[in-house]
């Protein structure tokens, strides 16, 4: 549609006030200016009012000693002597942990249930339907309460724990598992694992290239699985198994040692995963149904087996429909994790927008930081999913 502008007659001269470009620019500057002014006025007003009421402001409090405990900090060593800023970091990681677990399991549940919903087997599809309709239509907070108070009450106390072979213990204080302890020489095993993963990436590339050039398929998945299991075990055997297990033991009131998963984390992650999983199942079903039946018939006509048809013909096309709404489900799940505050899981809302807010009284700064964190996480998830969507989208030639 490119038009040679030299052949066009020169536009007639108009007064600046009637020039559409100048007018558009003028109004844009006006709108932007008034928004900035209004924003500045709000900030200024807030500062004035806080000062006149004698409420402290500023971000200096982040350097102050916290003085309170955080019930669960799996990644960092936290104690009362650390600062509010460090408590923010701990609580922020706890939010990311529960959101990460939730997204992973919601996706798995969602894909299984979505495919099951389309099954020709009446029982399977009806069960999937019941699951989806039940989970979607009960408020999430109630589901969290159900998993927390309902299930927690049914579990025994620490001294009567459910004992799984003396290694895993379940009671109303959580799940206690042995944690691996790495001795010197384990670095070799780690190196082997990393090298194997790099090797698998190259293998996959080679297999894809071969497929494109010769049409010969290569069982990449099974080969990789075998490699990632066998090679590290071999390496560990050579080094004389340089690792042990730190078992959880009942001492005094509770279990100590090993890995502890508190019931708050379990019930929150479970509720988030099953709730969002139901929505994802519907998205997956819609995605698969959006692929025209002609595609499947064409694949069958070419003699492609049903399993491969699903994986290589239907799913790649369905993903294009699935990914955008899937992204918003991931965002919802992450934001819904703030309901943690209801069951005492120490996430950013409970610890930072709760305890820290109470101890310092600096509501404006703290809520701003908390909102900024959720915004940042959501934008990162969106960015990643947009990139993934692009790489999955139809390439037109």
């Amino acid at each position: 549609m490119a038009v040679d502008s030299i052949n066009q007659p020169a536009p007639p001269k108009v007064a600046l006030i009637n020039d559409p470009v100048a007018r558009a620019l003028f109004f844009q500057v006006l709108v932007l200016g008034s928004i900035l002014l209004f924003g500045g006025y709000i900030v200024n007003n807030t500062m004035d009012n806080l000062a006149s009421q004698g409420i402290a402001s500023g971000f200096g409090f982040l350097e102050t000693t916290a003085g309170f405990a955080i019930g669960y900090s799996p990644f960092l060593d936290y104690s009362e002597e650390n600062t509010y800023g460090y408590a923010l970091l701990v609580s922020l990681l706890n939010t990311l942990l529960v959101a990460g677990i939730g997204v992973l399991f919601a996706t798995i549940i969602g894909f299984i249930m979505g495919v099951a919903r389309l099954s020709k087997n009446w029982l399977i599809s009806t069960l999937a339907l019941i699951y989806i309709e039940m989970m979607r239509n009960i408020p999430l907070l109630l589901q969290i309460f159900f998993w927390y108070f309902g299930v927690l009450r049914a579990l025994p106390g620490p001294r009567q724990s459910l004992d799984f072979n003396g290694t895993i213990f379940v009671n109303n204080r959580g799940v206690f598992m042995p944690s691996p302890e790495f001795e010197s020489g384990f670095g070799v095993v780690t190196t082997v694992i990393i090298l194997t993963i790099i090797g698998i990436i190259f293998l996959a590339r080679w297999a894809k290239k071969r497929m494109e050039q010769t049409g010969q398929p290569f069982p990449v998945f099974w080969t990789s699985l075998a490699l990632i299991i066998v090679l590290p075990i071999l390496a560990a055997a050579v080094m004389g198994f340089p690792m042990g297990w730190n078992h959880a033991e009942l001492t005094g009131f509770n279990f100590t040692g090993g890995t502890e998963v508190p019931p708050e984390l379990v019930s929150l992650a479970l509720a988030l995963a099953t709730y969002t999983g139901a929505f994802i199942a519907e998205i997956v079903r819609a995605g698969i149904q959006s692929v025209s039946h002609g595609q499947t018939e064409a694949a069958y006509a070419l003699g492609i087996k049903p399993g491969i048809t699903l994986r290589k013909v239907v799913i790649p096309q369905a993903l294009r429909v699935i990914i955008p709404p899937l992204t918003s489900q991931y965002l919802n799940l992450t934001k819904n994790s703030s309901l943690a505050a209801a069951i005492a899981y120490p996430d950013i809302v409970l610890v930072f927008a709760g305890t820290v807010l109470m101890q310092t009284g600096q509501a404006v700064e703290i809520i701003a930081i908390t909102m900024g964190f959720y915004l940042l996480v959501s934008l990162i998830i969106s960015m990643f999913m947009n990139w993934y969507n692009k790489s999955m989208s139809l390439v037109e030639r």
Partner: protein, 344 residues
């Protein structure tokens, strides 16, 4: 099209002018606000028996509630002119700072940071409390010093949470904290066995114990690990309102010392020649004028709400299910530390 653009420009310009003229809004004196509304908006707990608890009809009662009622009696001559806002420990200060409530009477501990950095003033002490621990009797624990490694449930954002950390740190012990926003959730979690220990102010322990499935299964350990002076809180920037709340509380304590009760005050008003009593019933002096209220203000408080001793016995005393002893909260003349400055 042209017209709409012009109109838009006019609106934008108007908006600019308005934002420039309006000066930053400051919370006007609380007393004026309360008088204009005709009632007091009182921030209370979400249900602590004896302090502030609603009955099945939604009527609030308790010691903290009566503090608010006494202010209403002083200001309006009618103790019923109070509306209640139930607040979690997390919400309470923001509600006061933002002007959503006029006075916070919600077993809140007086500390330096709260008094100075949060834009509010403590108007006295309505109950002297201390933090204690509750455990199941079946654990066989006799002292708080045996609690190393225990799981502890409590409310988040309270002085309790900080005292707990301090106490375990000072004694070289460890604990696993589980912190809830609502008192009901703490009780439910402790009752479900999520925690070995429930810690909060001793008065609240006694009150919450009545809510448990089997109150007899639990015991309060002897240690008191902190000072918890609980009292009403008002926002900064209104000294008159501060005075009114402070003296409404003081009158209840002074009335007990003078032997004035809701029952005998009418006969005392008619007969008494004691100048202290005559001032309290509004016959002599002009205490009301100085506070900016009716001279019958203290009479109204005692008549409609009662003196401190009556209020305590009614809501917390030995005859109630909570059954707290007066302890520190006896009058100074009877071995306690309750001491009101002279009302004159």
């Amino acid at each position: 099209m042209k017209k709409s653009i012009t109109a838009f420009a006019a609106v934008t310009a108007a908006a600019l002018v308005t934002t420039a003229i309006v000066t930053p809004a400051s919370a006007g004196p609380v007393l004026d606000r309360v008088k204009a509304k005709g009632f007091i908006q009182c921030g209370v707990s979400q249900g602590v028996p004896g302090f502030s608890n609603p009955d099945e009809k939604g009527n609030w009662s308790g010691l903290d509630v009566d503090v608010c009622r006494s202010v209403a009696a002083a200001l309006f001559g009618d103790a019923t002119k109070v509306k209640y806002t139930p607040l979690s420990s997390k919400e309470r200060f923001t509600a006061l700072q933002s002007g959503e409530i006029d006075v916070l009477s919600r077993n809140t501990t007086w500390t330096l940071v709260r008094d100075t950095a949060l834009g509010m003033n403590f108007a006295g002490v309505a109950y002297y409390d201390g933090q204690g621990f509750m455990v199941r009797k079946s654990l066989g624990v006799k002292s708080a010093l045996e609690l190393d490694g225990a799981s502890v449930c409590t409310n988040l954002g309270t002085t309790t949470e900080l005292n707990l950390s301090d106490y375990f740190r000072a004694n070289g012990m460890k604990f696993k904290g589980v912190f809830f926003e609502k008192a009901d959730e703490v009780v439910a979690a402790y009752d479900a066995g999520r925690c070995d220990v429930y810690t909060t102010d001793q008065s609240a322990l006694a009150a919450q114990r009545t809510k448990m499935k089997n109150p007899a299964e639990h015991q309060v350990l002897p240690e008191i690990i902190s000072k918890e002076p609980l009292g009403p809180v008002v926002p900064h920037a209104d000294d008159q309102w501060f005075d009114l709340v402070k003296w409404s509380l003081n009158v209840m304590i002074e009335a007990e010392e003078l032997g004035l009760t809701s029952e005998n005050i009418d006969s005392m008003k008619a007969d008494s020649k004691n100048p202290g009593i005559m001032r309290m019933v509004g016959v002599e002096g002009d205490t009301g004028k100085n506070l900016g209220v009716d001279n019958n203000w203290s009479y109204n408080i005692i008549k409609q709400v009662g003196n401190y001793g009556e209020v305590f016995e009614k809501h917390l005393g030995e005859s109630t299910p909570i059954g707290l002893p007066r302890g520190l909260n006896k009058l100074w003349s009877k071995g306690g530390i309750l001491y009101a400055p002279p009302v004159r």
